[in-house]
């Protein structure tokens, strides 16, 4: 007996829900436009680890992978019942909560799409100390070195190897919490004396124009 099929007919969230408390390895491959194959280790209702092409993913990447798989329109899968081998990092995430989290993130991205920043808009970290929940905390930890220098969602997605939509969503959330702010490129520019002189001349002319009206 085997559990196999295609995400086209049985989306990932349905599949994980159906697998419930089974233990084993779930492989997903043949995703549209992707060469990668993914392996998820499940043990009695918990996700132990995720691999992409044999490479273990960290917590942020694993969540991003699940997010992508949950959104995939198609992709072959097969579940092999077994006792999954121990691997690090050991996620040990409860599947029920994970499914809820992925679903709510998908909904929020969909609802807030018009509020999300452009992929090329640059952000930088702000000094405000606020308490962050997962997955925002993991994202912040990984993204902070780049955000300290200023980075766009596109750059972060590339460096962290997670989806662009997720990064835009995280940046939007972090902005609301005051942890990041958009870069103001002009403020970072060294003051140009010649330019300052020009601005002063134009300002004087504009004030004169204002008086004349």
């Amino acid at each position: 007996m085997a559990i196999f099929g295609n995400l086209r007919d049985m989306p990932l969230l349905d599949l994980l829900s159906m697998l419930g408390r089974r233990s084993g390895l779930l492989e997903v491959w043949n995703l549209p436009g992707e060469q990668d194959s993914y392996l998820l280790a499940l043990e009695r209702g918990r996700l132990l680890w995720v691999k992409a092409n044999g490479r273990r993913l960290d917590a942020l990447q694993a969540r991003s992978c699940l997010f992508a798989l949950a959104s995939a329109a198609e992709g072959a899968f097969e579940f092999v019942p077994t006792q999954p081998p121990e691997e690090n990092p050991h996620l040990d995430w409860p599947l029920e909560r994970l499914l809820l989290s992925v679903t709510s993130t998908q909904d929020e991205i969909s609802q807030q799409r018009s509020l999300l920043p452009d992929p090329a808009t640059r952000f930088q970290s702000a000094a405000l100390e606020v308490w962050l929940e997962e997955p925002l905390y993991s994202f912040w930890q990984r993204a902070r070195p780049l955000l300290d220098q200023g980075a766009s969602a596109r750059e972060l997605a590339h460096h962290l190897n997670i989806s662009l939509d997720e990064v835009r969503y995280y940046l939007h959330r972090l902005r609301l919490l005051g942890k990041v702010a958009p870069v103001r490129a002009y403020q970072a520019l060294r003051k140009d004396e010649a330019r300052q002189g020009l601005f002063q001349r134009l300002l004087a002319a504009l004030r004169g124009r204002g008086k004349g009206r």
């Binding site: 452009d118 808009t121 870069v183 103001r184 601005f199 134009l202």
Partner: protein
Amino acid sequence: MKPLKLVVSGPVGAGKTTFIQSLSEIPVVETDEFASEEIGKEKTTVALDFGLLTLDGAPIHLFGTPGQERFDFVWDVLVEGALGLVVLVAGDQPAHFPKARYILEYLTSRHPVPFVLGVTRQDLPRVWAPEDVADYFGLPHEQVVGLNATSPTSATLALIRMLELVTGERWQGIY
């Protein structure tokens, strides 16, 4: 003298074309076409608006960007090397604030250009105050000005504010 460039941007219906008309010494070159979708008005800018302002003998080219998102590739081209940027948003249209913030943050995070945010339609009875809009955008209050785009004086004061911010010369009087 090489012409300087000032860019006016913002969502559809913010008053960009009117703002340029208020400042320009020449008839504004418009590229208005009938809107192919419902945007709250019959015609809209599809490429750019162009006007001219001369200050202290220096010609300043005034460029207005198209407001619709599908023409956003024009934004970078126009803002590159600009002297300043005025982003306008209609104060009676809070639904347009997210789009205006999107445009403002996209442009000012990528181009080192001084800017001011203008909140138009201040002549209407039910309109957001500039300081409230500043809080929404996360900007210092002095970087946001209320204005009436049809008024040349109002448009001029917006430019004065932008230059005051970069020179640090704050004028205290009243014309």
